[in-house]
């Protein structure tokens, strides 16, 4: 391994310009992976179908994490689900955004005393935007998505970069809560 790969640094101006252009396109076509973990997922059908019609924002459902831009964590997360969400989030290609619904992702909500439910999602995965409400109404969901689009345009949605830069911190937190992130059940043996 004597050869070192040289990284060619683009001039700052071009880099910024290119980022701005790509962010414009990213903001106008967001494909989402709905990880319907809790009850907030029930508000998504209204937001997606004709009444609120999410598609007019350029958002659509996507089948696999590798093709998705944004992952929606809709509600409480049990430790068992958190493992799967981490799997899904790490499979997504960058840039990726995470939207958390409801109070359960903030402080555990009504599951604050449960042995099986985590309290703060942002300890384990970076969150770009929270949507408040138990459950958030479709208006709030749409408003949250519009805010997300604005954040992407103005380069404030940088959770994925945070996850890459502070990966050791996130991993340590995940291991403290989960013991081991790897999924081992009889269906994976």
């Amino acid at each position: 391994m004597s050869k070192e790969i040289k990284k060619v640094e683009k001039p700052e101006k071009i880099k910024k310009g290119w980022d701005g252009i790509s962010n414009y396109f990213r903001a106008n076509s967001i494909w989402m992976l709905m990880y319907c973990t809790g009850c907030c997922a029930i508000e998504l059908p209204q937001a997606m179908t004709s009444r609120y019609d999410m598609e007019r924002l350029g958002m659509g459902p996507m089948a696999t994490p590798r093709q998705a831009d944004v992952i929606l964590v809709t509600g409480y997360l049990s430790v068992k689900t958190l493992r799967r969400v981490i799997y899904a989030y790490e499979q997504m290609s960058e840039p990726k955004y995470l939207v958390a619904f409801g109070p359960c992702a903030i402080n555990g909500g009504i599951y604050y005393d449960s042995h099986a439910v985590i309290k703060q999602l942002d300890q384990y995965l970076p969150i770009d935007i929270y949507i408040a409400g138990c459950m958030p109404k479709p208006e709030a969901v749409m408003n949250g998505f519009k805010d997300l689009i604005e954040m992407i345009k103005s380069k404030k949605a940088t959770g994925w970069r945070k996850y890459r830069d502070n990966n050791a911190w996130y991993k340590a937190n995940q291991i403290h809560a989960l013991g081991e992130v790897r999924i081992k059940d009889e269906f994976h043996e």
Binding site: V79, K80, R83, I106, N107, G108, Y112, D113, S114, H115, A116, V117, I118, K119, Q120, Q123, H176, A177, L178, G179, E180, I183, K184, D185, E186
Partner: protein
Amino acid sequence: MNSMNNNVADLVKDVEARFNVLSVDYPKDDQVSFDFDNRDLHSALSYLRSAGWIQLSILSCIDWIDENEFQLVYIIFNWENPIRIQVRTRIDRKEAKFRTITSIYPGAKYYERDVHEFFGVEFEGNPDSNKQLFLENWDDMPPLRKDFDSIAYSDSKYPKREYKTDFSKKAGDK
């Protein structure tokens, strides 16, 4: 309605004639519960199965911590004669061990794993009894036992969010 009540009465008479029933209860019109000594449970279940109660709907467990006992509740169902039967028995809490019923109801395999995981009851004869089913990498006592402190476990494992303002008080309070 009448015929159904007669049905239930006949069933109770039949079971009482064959086994030593500790107590009979009627939670609802179409439900009967029998309490058996844990030595009689298997013969009672296999008799009821041959009498038409072919479906084990669920196996549940109750932790009577003051009496130092676990109560196992087998709910069985008959598709020809719509009476739900709860077959109940008590076992010692300290040495929580019981014999499997997988030879009578094969589907009990998973319910027994469930009860083992959440209450720590060992089912002898069920080869998968110790395998994990719902909880992954569990490292404490079974969580649905009454002496398990859920809040303490949760606080030690999943950090609480700290707030600078105390939101639990109302606006007017001091």
